[in-house]
Symmetry: C2
DNA sequence: ATCGTATATTCGATTATGCGAATGTACACG
DNA sequence: CGTGTACATTCGCATAATCGAATATACGAT
């Protein structure tokens, strides 16, 4: 019971646990958008974003509407937008860590380069 | 820049994207708790919960305090509690899906059994 | 010092995720 | 009909997450 509920919650969080999917939800919180535009704005391969959209669809986080040849996505529940808004507060309260992370990122990149060189 | 921010956000969500860690955060939102008690309440192996706690620590979601032989965990920022609260609203708005998920779970269990039998 | 308890870390095996390439499907237009 | 465009799905591989078992560390008590 309680376990199922937690699994459900974790599922939602996990669905949001990828930069591309965060980007999607952020864009959609301002209104619906076609796959093509999302693709272009976020800057990933079409097949890839489709995969991410499929994940969000499976969790019922987004809904779709077909218009002729293209498909428009929107958030199903504005509440999720509010959650993201709360999260935004959280992020601003901890911007320092974002900076740290960016540093780590650079280091990580160097390591990857080193690995790649071998 | 923006990409880093999204990665940070995704990191937080991903950290919350596991039932055990959701349980931890929920318990801690009511106050600090020792590892042993968490372990017992949630019902997982000690080593396992330590691993999950390590993940939450790395994301600075929780902080610790040592008292003699044991270590008490607490949420670092009550804002996260609020985020969880918003999420709770969301979950109650979509309880139907939790039910569905529980059904799927049963089906999944059957499938696993079948697999295991082969 | 040494023993017991509480917690953390490492290791190895299993499973899940993420990606691009290729392929499939649905619709519009002629 | 066929062709083009928009989007989705499948596949194969690489990387990452998860788990329990074993091991390590930190502290209190004797």
């Amino acid at each position: 019971m309680l376990e199922s509920l937690r699994q459900f919650k974790a599922g939602i969080f996990q669905a949001l646990g990828h930069p591309t999917r965060v980007a999607v939800v952020e864009f959609l919180s301002h209104g619906e958008m076609s796959v093509g535009v999302l693709c272009e704005k976020i800057g990933v391969e079409q097949a890839n974003i489709s995969q991410h959209l499929a994940i969000l669809r499976n969790k019922h986080i987004v809904e779709t509407r077909r218009d002729g040849n293209q498909i428009f996505y929107r958030l199903r529940d504005p509440l999720l937008g509010e959650v993201l808004e709360k999260m935004r507060e959280y992020f601003f309260a901890h911007l320092g860590e974002v900076m740290e992370m960016m540093q780590e990122e650079k280091k990580g990149a160097k390591k990857s380069e080193q690995k790649a060189r071998r």
